[in-house]
Amino acid sequence: MNVIISLLAVIVLGVIAYVGVEGAGLRVLFGVIIPYAAVLTFFVGMVYRVIDWAKSPVPFRIPTTAGQEKSMPWIKPQPIENPSTRGGAIVRMILEVALFRSLFRNMKLDFRQGPKVRYSSEKFLWLFAILFHYSFLVTLLRHLRFFTDPIPAWVVGLESIDSMFKVEVMTPVIEIGLPALLLSGLVLGGMATLLLVRRLWIPQVRYISLPADYFPLWLIIGIAITGILMRYVIRVDVVGIKELTMGLATLSPALPDGVSGWFFVHLFLVSVLFAYFPFSKLTHMAGVFLSPTRNLVNNSRAVRHVNPWMTEPVKYHTYAAYEDDFRELMVEAGLPVDKELEPEDESADDKGEKE
């Protein structure tokens, strides 16, 4: 159900853009206003989110320790899985962000009758996720060719690496190979699809999935499909598109005629993705850097840290109050006391006088 609703939402968005441009001729709205608004929402929104998170303090050091701590010199510590220095924590974060270290660790439960419980390595999620994210990144960077003039050499280089894998499919409808096949776009669409299939395939994951989980996947699949269609199937006016995108990039929007409605569908879905970003789980992109269980150093026994809000002295049951409660029993049991028992025969005064 959630998956259908999300798919419908994306289809409706696509139709809105196509009809809006081809039917109502709202090219300025879909070509200029919405893209600008979306990008603005993205940047303002993400900065706001990060500031909002950062405003909440990290009162305690709570790194998840995944290896031996630094203790005595003859015990070999694991400086990355359990960092005792800032450098170790940075390397840990790099492994986390660049290679998805924690996800790589993933194990799969194998529950058999008996009951016997076993665990086997489970790398599919890691594989889908990492290919998805890197192809997303490459696709994004590759698109800089539309926003730069001259196109930087590294973007050209990236694209030539991306298209190293040449396949030629020549049919009356599809002519892949001319232009060169770009892997990143296909992988992006493919991995988004596999992530979607995985979400539907595994009963537990389907059970926890919200529309908010399917929607961005459908959105990205929609973006990939429209992009691929434009590149390989539908003839679009690339020169006109470049004129439009350069206009956006240089803040002097131009709307050449003849740019297909399909392009506006693509652009609108991208705009929706950008605008949706700061309000959704997609903020994990920025949030992962702030995660206190991963980015902190495990040294709180060696170095003092300060909690910014727990500054008032704590009220606790003092030893004096404890002894007041139990003095008689303590004396009887031969335990030392700070304050002796009051002698019962009122000889205390005499004693006091003698001293």
């Binding site: 909440s56 005595m72 993933n106 994990h284 949030g287 026994r301 727990m310």
Partner: protein
């Protein structure tokens, strides 16, 4: 503590979620699966709100007036005080990597025990009331209103999490369900929805120093019984001191070690070790609980109880503190103590008086773990050990979650064990060290009425023990956690009969060759130590 469970029943656990959506599925408060509510007197004793008589099985929980306002204000307050909470509410992508990592999910098949869904129980309320999309799209955005049903669900499931952090290890963003459970329990505490096995120990720890409410003379008496046992089995009379000013070191251990088997054997182990090396130390009856039950209540209560350790160290004028074998105690010491109640400027940087080793890793808290301390003694050849006395034991080691994923002490206990016993076997690697499985009864869930759920939660750990029991004949599960020692015997009897439970210090003491000791015929449990010859004789019979 009888249970109707059998291994067959547990063998038929179905991990497939029901057809019905989780928001429409309500928990059933069946005996054995929920915990008794706190005695109102215990809440009153520490001035906690919401003290009342109520019963989870009844429909009316007698929630305090404006409980919704209290909870929402509580959420807002904590969003502003804990980045972990705010971030973990926002960035989960529900990838499900954590789903099958929870021992309660494995043992119950209940989808709300998937860490991601456990967090959603709270996140859905957060979304509806605290996020833009949730305010607009409500259920479509995964939001739901805060109703009394939600509170019941929270009570059921947030006391069905042992805060072991295993899920956190596998989360690509390090989302730690323990953090979410900690906050959720704080929220429940604001309206008096606490369980008795936490609330009453908290009140006891506050007043008497330990969770059982042992008064000072009883504490001392209990120790004296153990001294008699040591004399009987090892032939050495030990005279420890209590509340002694001017001792060099204060020793604090969970009070579980002083009153029940097999914890008492670990306690005897500490006593014998300190006697053997001639340590100048003292016990405190006032700070006689290392295990911090406040940690399962709120950060403020944790601080209040933890404060007593430093207060006592200062009053007695010791140089530093040595801590016994305990899971949560060390999580608190490692992650919170110095921040909560430091700086302990009245103490010195810990230095072993026997080996001269300076513990730089404890330079600020001034508190050393007994297993570090023992490992250092062995490394420096300060202990006379005869590991063959443990030859009848085939030992495995359970990494307790808090010491593993909240601290990272893996090598020290293994080093100690390999020096005090000759037969040591590791459990399967996916179940040890950072991937260790919880005992299933931690974070205050070790109540008698909860045995069924504990057995279910303990299934993955027990299964790993079973593997080494069958393969190598392992018959002793060792650990460095008092809750483990308290709960594993029942779990082992059920899942892996023939495996006993011991603290590492007990095995150290068994191997310890003390001055003036007798020919050790009995171990600390009063069991005859089989010699090689006896073994052969036994086999021939």
């Amino acid at each position: 503590m009888a249970t109707k469970l059998s291994a067959d029943v547990l063998g038929n656990i179905d991990h497939k979620p029901p057809k019905q959506g989780w928001m429409d599925t309500k928990p059933e408060f069946l005996p054995g699966t929920y915990l008794y509510p706190v005695n109102p007197e215990s809440l009153k004793a520490i001035g906690a709100p919401g003290a009342r008589e109520w019963n989870p099985t009844e429909s009316d929980w007698k929630l305090p007036a404006d409980w919704q306002g209290t909870i929402k204000a509580g959420i807002k307050d904590r969003l502003n005080r804990f980045r972990s909470f705010k971030l973990f509410m926002d960035i989960c992508v529900r990838c499900g990597a954590c789903a099958d990592k929870c021992h309660f999910f494995i043992g119950t098949g209940d989808p709300k025990n998937m860490p991601v869904l456990r967090a959603e129980l709270l996140r859905s309320v957060y979304r509806q009331d605290f996020t833009a999309l949730g305010k607009v799209f409500k259920k479509m955005a995964g939001g739901r209103p805060l109703t009394e049903e939600v509170i019941k669900e929270w009570f059921y499931y947030f006391f069905q999490c042992t805060e072991c952090r295993r899920c956190s290890l596998f989360c690509p963003y390090g989302i730690d369900t323990a953090e979410i459970t900690i906050i959720a329990r704080e929220l429940l505490n604001l309206i008096g929805c606490q369980i008795d096995w936490i609330g009453t120990p908290v009140a006891n720890c506050n007043r008497t120093g330990n969770h059982l409410g042992l008064q000072p003379h009883t504490y001392k008496e209990n120790v004296e019984y153990l001294l008699d046992d040591i004399e009987e089995y090892a032939g050495v009379r030990i005279e420890p001191s209590f509340n002694r000013k001017g001792a060099e070191i204060l020793f604090v251990t969970p009070s579980g070690d002083v009153f029940a088997e097999p914890g008492i054997f670990t306690f005897m182990g500490y006593l014998m070790l300190f006697e053997h090396i001639g340590l100048d130390y003292t016990w405190s009856t006032y700070a006689s609980e290392g295990g911090n039950f406040g940690f399962f209540t709120s950060h403020e209560t944790m601080r209040k109880l933890n404060r007593k350790m430093y207060a006592e160290a200062e009053r007695l004028g010791v140089k530093w503190i040595l801590g016994g074998e305990c899971g949560h105690m060390w999580r608190v010491v490692n992650q919170y103590m110095d921040t909560l109640n430091g700086p302990a400027t009245f103490l010195e940087k810990p230095k072993s008086p026997i080996t001269g080793t300076v513990f730089d890793n404890a330079a600020s808290t001034k508190m050393v773990h007994i297993t570090e301390f023992t490992a250092d003694l062995i490394k420096n050849n300060k202990l006379k050990l005869d590991p063959s006395r443990n030859d009848h034991l085939k030992v495995t080691f359970h990494d307790s979650c808090n010491v593993a994923r909240g601290m990272g002490m893996f090598e020290e206990p293994r080093y100690v064990l390999q020096n005090v016993c000759n037969n040591f076997y590791e459990m399967p690697p996916q179940t040890t060290r950072e991937q260790t499985f919880c005992c299933g009864s931690g974070s205050g869930l070790n109540a008698g009425e909860y045995l069924e759920m504990r057995l279910r939660g303990g299934l993955p750990r027990a299964n790993a023990v079973k593997a080494v029991h069958e393969e190598h004949g392992v018959n002793m599960l060792s650990c460095v956690c008092a809750i483990d020692r308290a709960v594993f015997p029942a779990l082992m009897d059920f899942w892996v009969p023939g495996v006993a439970v011991a603290g590492v210090s007990e095995l150290v003491a068994n191997a310890l060759v003390m001055d003036g000791e007798n020919e050790r015929e009995y171990n600390l449990r009063g069991e005859e130590i089989p010699t090689a010859g006896d073994d052969d004789a036994g086999e021939e019979e």
